[in-house]
């Protein structure tokens, strides 16, 4: 078993490859995660079905199929039941002064762009924790 097998593997889904790539660099810099990118919802779903992804971050607004479509496909697929999901949107309405992300009524963490890297890492850890405790 190599070191990378112990790290959480994250699939970053975002049609903006600059944003996705820099998110990857920041997450990998922590030494706790390995990441790969998908720039469309379809490509992401295909990759998820190949297995090995612990957590996926989904951009909501993407051309072709949206992040919402991808989210529903993941939830509908029993084989992907253990994949953790974090939603990242440019249009999340945050309350003024709100610093910490909130879970929506379905229990999904939503973050807004531009994401503070510390907040993002905190959210990923909280999500992984919820998997262990469930």
């Amino acid at each position: 078993m190599s070191i990378s097998d112990l790290k959480t593997h994250i699939l970053i889904v975002d049609d903006d490859s600059d944003f996705g790539r820099l998110m990857q660099i920041n997450l990998e810099e922590t030494g706790e995660f390995t990441c790969e990118l998908a720039t469309s919802a379809e490509a992401a779903l295909k990759r998820l079905r190949e297995g090995g992804v612990d957590l996926v971050t989904i951009d909501v607004m993407m051309p072709e199929h949206s992040g919402g479509w991808l989210f529903n496909e993941i939830r509908a697929d029993q084989a992907l039941a253990e994949v953790r999901v974090i939603v990242i949107s440019a249009l999340v309405e945050k309350s003024p002064g709100q610093v910490l992300p909130k879970r929506d009524p379905m229990g999904v963490i939503s973050l807004w762009k531009p994401v503070d890297p510390d907040v993002l890492i905190g959210a990923i850890k909280a999500e992984l924790q919820s998997l262990k405790s469930s």
């Binding site: 600059d18 820099l22 440019a90 002064g97 890297p117």
Partner: protein, 392 residues
């Protein structure tokens, strides 16, 4: 105060006639005929000059004016226009003239006189008919004018709403386009700050870049707020909770203001329930408080800044929320325009002029009203909103 004609369908019961006639004999003849026409159903006020007539319109209840054109010191018609302007559309004027002068008469009818009577031809039946019709016509004219006015104001509101909606849609699109690059830059700055362990100028450059990105993000978020200020999801909430979580949101800004400033809250002890969109209402209050906080920054060293949030119930179902600060004087013109979208006095500080505009839109959304005024050296933003609940 002149009687409101539209309040009553039976105008004869409160018919107050102002008779402007310099000739006493003519007045007595007219009065006699009016008595025969209306019996005790009409009251008369007799004045002899235009000056007295103007005063009577101000001071006495007048439902109609009978105006003699041959007043001393005025040629035909010169007394009509000032009196008509004074009387306004609510008090009809009937012209009395000794001569049948078609040119003068038609010009006065065009200028708003309701009718004309030739003195020699007047009889009680004609008087009664002329007066009743004049009052009815004047009521109808007023109704038409009021409808026209409300149509014009609805049109201008619609136009304003359409403009705001267009700006909102543009903003929402723009926000999405801008958030990605901002996010990328923020990630980049974070990465460089972590890996380079920068010092000196490099550290300063990265820090200033970070601050700028945050500021750009705030501007973009303001635009997003502005574009979404029309959605409304009311829920019943206790005002104390609402105020407490509002204070939580702004507390860090007061802690880190960099100048002496304090935030005080005053509210009634008893719980007040209110039906509002909590998220939006907090947003409104945060905007007002932050605006006040910004204002107190330029007070100077002699005094510390003070911002207070005051809340009380007035008139049963109306809640008054006020944010008061001791910031420097604000001119009336600035206060009047403060809620206009994109009006700002803080453009050097990165303000885009949407904070108070968003607050105003949220207030209206709740059927409330936001007003700003300067009083006793304090700037006062007063929000009156219905609690939305019926108290038994």
């Amino acid at each position: 105060m002149p009687l409101s004609l539209s309040d009553s369908s039976d105008t004869t019961s409160e018919l107050n006639l102002l008779i402007v006639e310099d000739d006493e004999d003519d007045f007595l003849i007219l009065k006699h005929q009016l008595k025969r026409a209306f019996g005790g159903g009409a009251k008369f006020l007799w004045v002899k000059s235009l000056r007295e007539a103007m005063r009577a319109v101000d001071l006495d209840p007048v439902s109609l004016i009978l105006l003699d054109l041959g007043l001393p010191g005025s040629n035909a018609g010169s007394s009509f226009r000032p009196l008509a302007a004074k009387a306004g559309p609510r008090i009809p004027i009937i012209i009395l003239t000794g001569l049948n002068n078609p040119d003068t008469i038609s010009s006065l009818l065009a200028a708003g006189a309701q009718d004309y009577l030739i003195k020699d031809e007047v009889n009680p039946q004609l008087l009664e008919k002329s007066i009743r019709y004049a009052i009815e016509r004047s009521k109808a004219t007023q109704e038409i004018e009021s409808l026209a006015n409300s149509l014009a104001s609805t049109e201008s509101e619609l136009l304003q709403a359409a403009k705001l909606e267009a700006v909102g849609r543009l903003a929402a699109g723009l926000v999405h386009q801008l958030k990605n690059p901002l996010g990328t830059v923020m990630f980049g700055i974070n990465y460089l700050s972590t890996t380079l362990k920068p010092e000196g100028t490099t550290a300063e450059v990265l820090e200033r870049m970070g601050t700028s990105v945050e500021r750009a993000d705030e501007i973009v978020s303001d635009l997003l707020d502005f574009s979404s200020a029309a959605e409304y999801n009311p829920e019943t909430t206790d005002i104390s909770e609402l105020l407490a979580s509002t204070v939580e949101m702004v507390d860090h800004r007061f802690q880190n203001a960099g100048f002496p400033v304090a935030l005080q809250i005053s509210k009634p002890d008893e719980p007040i329930e209110i039906s509002v969109d909590s998220r939006k209402m907090k947003h409104l209050l945060v905007n007002l408080i932050e605006n006040s906080l910004d204002a107190t920054e330029s007070i100077g060293d002699l005094e510390s800044g003070s911002v207070s949030l005051e809340c009380k119930l007035i008139e049963g179902n109306l809640l008054l929320l006020e944010v008061v600060d001791n910031g420097p004087h604000v001119r009336d013109e600035v206060l009047a325009r403060a809620t206009e979208p994109f009006f700002t006095t803080k453009s050097q500080l990165g303000g885009v002029g949407l904070g108070l505009s968003v607050a105003d839109r949220i207030a209206r959304l709740h059927g409330g009203e936001l007003r700003l005024r300067r009083e006793d050296g304090l700037t006062r933003a007063s929000l009156r909103i219905p609690t939305g609940l019926t108290h038994s």
